[in-house]
């Protein structure tokens, strides 16, 4: 059972406009409008309840919280009555009437509740069990036949519904309607037949469906993932932070015998409140199946073979030392703050290079400049609380439901307080519709133009209203990582912010990106957002690192630039009369969690990895990079190490080691071993040491480089049948961290391509559209959508629609489409 006092101010805070009430004879002064049940909570009086939830509207459905109120003829539900001046409430502790009423309700609820606690997943942590013991009769007087239903039905692939256990508290249906906005689950029938259910052809495929399992006060809703796996007394729980996206949800991870069995949302009022998304809740199978178990090195024949740690570390250290400043480090976006900081320091101090990039996705120099100027090491941006109060929240290349689900839930909450949402996107997505947002229709590539009209206040229609609201105090612009894919967008966002005063928040998809940025895991930036070409910044960091200022490298290259450099080297070697004499500028790569398929040009990246002489990969699971690496070192997954993630707000939240007996080592620890083998002291990779050092460096307060103006790329000349791609990644897709969770994968939204009616007519598409590029061709089911012509939207990396690897395109690129065969 979840009991919080969220939203209830302390009685002493506002004595003047409070009301005086008495609960069980104890006088209280509480703010007007407080619910009786909350006042009782403040006193420590637990009134039994099922339907009441502090984050849902009161409904008084279960009638369990009946209390006696002086002057009222009958007991009243404490969860739905607000206090009034002079109200005298007596709970079951002092009133026999209330106690009898509660016992009666409990007996009534148990009439149809089956006695199948032994096979019920909720057994042991069940509010109905607990309250039946505390507030029920010892014996049942009912000897009739209980109402039964056929045993559990799948309301989705992941969620199972046992209707006979339901006490019709409507927590799940209220959550679906009020919080998630997915009213796929509702109360059906009436009277004794009342039951929770779904429509015949609409499964409960919400991204937030797992929350209903957690808030169900009986075992009516259970998840296929946890079904029959454990009892609460078997579990060891650790508070953790979700590693799946930049929302930064607090979670509770439950472990039985060194296996993670369940993750639940933790009460974290400033971030995720008490909710999380299904990906964070159910996607943890990747940590157990298909992991790399031993260090791997190349044998004489070039095959990867298992090796001992000292052997593999020695080879990695020798190769990296030989390469030195000719190395480059790609960290990926999934590292903890501590690990990202270790890579940043390792590159500068041990390797002597600034060639480091955490952005394992399409990225540009414009983005690097934007991040350095507006995001890195700055903690003055908007927070979740600001989203609730903003007059308008403008979404730029950002789809909150898919890319940062808790932002979506906060905007939904803000919506009820009058927050307006506007989105610069090609069509109104399901998420935007649920946010009641206004769409500023924008074809891919036109974002800078639309932003410019908002900046100049020359927009028309809906955009004019948005433009006006952006100038009000508290307005927020949320810009997604996809903005980097359209040149000029981030510059235009910065200009819009400067013109209107609206604050910017950059929301990447991955959990580690903001932390990596703040830690200095990007070329040109030292920890805390310090420009590497600033003398004062260099001096501060050099002092903390105990190195000479001149030893710190000059500005290095981004991932994209390094790949280009490697290919330039290759061409130079191919063209040279004596290839052996041509020296490569990049001679080794140190790669953490980089998935080639996420990059703008996977083929070019893999070719670059192939041609660089020495590659070290620190990975959890086998990937296209580990196949090409000379040394593969296995590292700990999120549950196997302690650490911290910085979410999009800049809020750094630490978490403990969940699997305490895990033998895997964190990236920091492995890096320190490599450094030691090179003969350099790099600490022990100890998390407290790293945190303390990073804290001493602190954020940069000095001058930052201005964001240079970026050229806006003119629209493409489209031939007949050519369309421009708009795309993002849905929450559930082919992501590596979702592997090993078939029930979760089955709740992913169906893969469809979206085109406008006119575009469909032009190519004669009906059900299926064939999308082709010089790289390849795929068939995708098509949905006609109200959107600009000559634009196609497809999921970026879903089953049957992997644009990067199958077509070699991303947002803003051109593909050819034709009508599919019937």
């Amino acid at each position: 059972m979840t009991v919080t006092t969220t939203g209830a101010a302390t009685p002493a805070a506002q004595p003047t406009d409070g009301v005086n009430v008495s609960i069980d004879g104890i006088e209280m002064n509480v703010p007007k409008g407080t619910l009786v049940i909350r006042v009782a909570e403040q006193l420590g009086v637990a009134v039994p309840r099922f339907c009441d939830h502090p984050l849902l509207d009161p409904v008084a459905a279960c009638r369990m919280c009946l209390v006696e109120i002086e002057g009222q003829p009958k007991p009243q539900p404490a969860c739905a009555i607000t206090v009034t001046e002079g109200m005298k409430v007596r709970t079951q502790l002092t009133s026999q009437i209330a106690d009898e009423a509660q016992k009666g309700v409990m007996e009534f609820l148990l009439i149809n509740h089956p006695l199948d606690c032994p096979i019920c997943d909720k057994g042991g942590e069940c509010p109905l069990q607990n309250q039946a013991m505390a507030n029920g009769r010892g014996e049942s007087r009912f000897d009739g036949v209980k109402r039964t239903f056929p045993k559990p039905i799948n309301v989705s692939a992941q969620i199972l519904l046992d209707r006979e256990r339901c006490v019709s508290c409507a927590r799940c249906t209220r959550f679906a309607e009020q919080i998630a906005g997915d009213p796929f689950i509702d109360l059906l029938e009436r009277g004794a037949k009342q039951q929770v259910g779904i429509g015949d052809d609409s499964p409960f495929d919400s991204y937030f469906s797992g929350n209903t399992v957690q808030i169900c006060p009986v075992g009516a809703l259970t998840s296929a993932k946890y079904r029959f796996r454990s009892r609460p007394f078997d579990l060891v729980s650790t508070p953790t932070i979700c590693e799946h996206c930049a929302s930064g949800c607090g979670l509770r991870t439950d472990v039985r015998r060194s296996t993670v069995l369940r993750r639940q949302a933790w009460d974290n009022p400033e971030v995720n409140e008490e909710w999380n998304c299904d990906k964070g809740r159910f996607a943890f199978g990747y940590q157990t199946d298909g992991r790399i178990e031993h260090p791997l090195v190349r044998d004489e024949t070039g095959e990867l073979v298992a090796a001992s740690w000292p052997e593999a570390i020695a080879i990695a250290a020798a190769g990296l030392k030989a390469s030195g400043s000719g190395s480059a480090v790609f960290t990926g976006g999934r590292l903890t703050v501590e690990d990202a900081y270790s890579y940043a320091k390792f590159a500068r101090v041990i390797l002597g290079t600034d060639n480091i990039d955490f952005r394992a996705r399409a990225a540009t120099q414009e983005e690097a400049g934007f991040l350095a100027a507006h995001v890195a090491g700055r903690f003055d941006g908007p927070t979740y609380a600001d989203l609730e109060k903003a007059p308008v929240v403008l979404l730029v290349d950002f789809e909150p439901e898919d890319e940062s689900p808790i932002v979506f839930l906060r905007l939904r909450k803000g919506l009820r307080r009058g927050v307006r949402v506007a989105s610069i996107a090609p069509f109104a997505s399901a998420g935007l519709t649920k946010l009641n947002g206004s769409l500023l229709v924008t074809a891919p590539g036109a974002q800078p133009t639309v932003l410019a009209t908002l900046t100049d206040n020359t927009a028309s229609d809906q955009a004019a209203e948005t433009s006006r609201l952006l100038r009000e105090s508290g307005a927020v612009i949320l810009v997604g990582e996809r903005a980097a894919q359209t040149p000029g967008t981030l510059t235009a966002v910065a200009a819009l912010s400067a013109a209107t005063g609206a604050r910017i928040a950059w929301i990447p998809r991955r959990a580690g990106e903001r932390g990596a940025l703040d830690s200095g895991a990007m070329a040109g930036l030292l920890p805390g957002g310090r420009p590497i070409d600033n003398d004062q910044a260099r001096a501060q960091v050099a002092a903390e690192w105990g190195v000479d200022v001149d030893a710190l490298p000059a500005v290095g290259q981004s991932l994209t630039q390094i790949v280009a450099t490697v290919h330039a080297d290759n061409e130079a070697i191919a063209a040279a009369p004596d290839p052996a004499k041509v020296e490569r500028s990049i001679t080794s790569l140190l790669i953490a969690g980089v998935e080639a398929g996420d990059l703008a040009d996977p083929a070019a990246f893999l070719a670059a990895v192939d041609s660089v002489p020495f590659v070290v990969s620190l990975e959890q699971r086998h990937s296209e990079v580990t196949q090409r690496a000379d040394v593969v070192l296995p590292v700990a997954a999120a549950a196997e190490k302690a650490g911290a993630f910085t979410n999009w707000e800049g809020r750094t939240q630490t978490f403990g080691q969940v699997l305490r007996e895990a033998l895997t080592m964190s990236d920091s620890r492995v890096l320190s071993m490599i450094a030691r083998d090179m003969g350099v002291d790099f600490g022990r990779g100890d998390i407290a040491e790293i945190r303390a050092e990073f804290r001493r460096i602190g954020p940069w307060a000095g001058a930052r480089a201005e964001l240079a103006d970026s050229d806006i790329v003119e629209g493409h000349e489209l031939a007949s049948g050519d369309v421009v791609v708009a795309t993002w990644r849905p929450l559930l897709d082919r992501g590596v961290l979702q592997e090993g969770d078939p029930y979760l994968a089955a709740t992913a939204r169906p893969v469809v391509a979206r085109i406008s009616r006119a575009t469909a007519d032009a190519i004669g598409a009906s059900d299926v559209v064939v999308v082709s590029t010089p790289v390849g061709s795929i068939d995708v089911p098509v949905t006609i959508t109200d959107m600009p012509d000559d634009v196609i939207w497809m999921p970026l990396n879903s089953q049957g629609s992997s644009l990067r690897s199958e077509l070699g395109v991303g947002q803003g690129d051109v593909v050819h489409i034709s009508g599919g065969a019937e």
Binding site: C117, P118, I119, G123, G124, K151, P152, R227, F228, R229, S230, R231, F233, D234
Partner: protein
Amino acid sequence: MSDERRFFRGFAVPFRQMFKKPNTEYYPEEKTPTAPRFHGRHQLNRHPDGLEKCIGCELCAWACPADAIFVEGAPNTDEERYSPGERYGRVYQINYLRCILCGLCIEACPTRALTMTNEYELADDSRAKLIYEKEDLLGPLLAGMAMPPHQMYPGTTETDYYLGNVLGAAAVQSGEAEARRLGTWISEDADEEAVS
């Protein structure tokens, strides 16, 4: 008292014992039966058709004051059924190095799956051997029982099992068990047979 008298008096007790019946138990050559409700080794019982009574609820593990029982439940499926109903005990271990044979577990068992036998010879030469697995604890297949996994008695629900309406394995159940033993079982046929 003289020294002689004191000396011989000391032999009085052994002398009296010479005429008493010896109390020696010739264990292990001769074994005396225990009291009928002696708390010995546990047994996991079966329904009359051979399906397991254990539903993997872990109430025994919960009740255990010595933390000697480890249970993991799992869902039954139509292809592979070990007990009537939705859930069965996939893993069942009792650690007899910890067990104090108090019997709280059998009191907690909601299906009478777990009972205790009179077997008390629980000694062995390694720790691992004293952790009894499910196959060590399951009761023998008696006459009329078929080895799970197999389907439920045709036309019954789990309620019938608890009401005692199932008295032995039907031909389809025994047939399925035999086919599985021989490795010739195909689950689609089972549905047709059950219907016919």
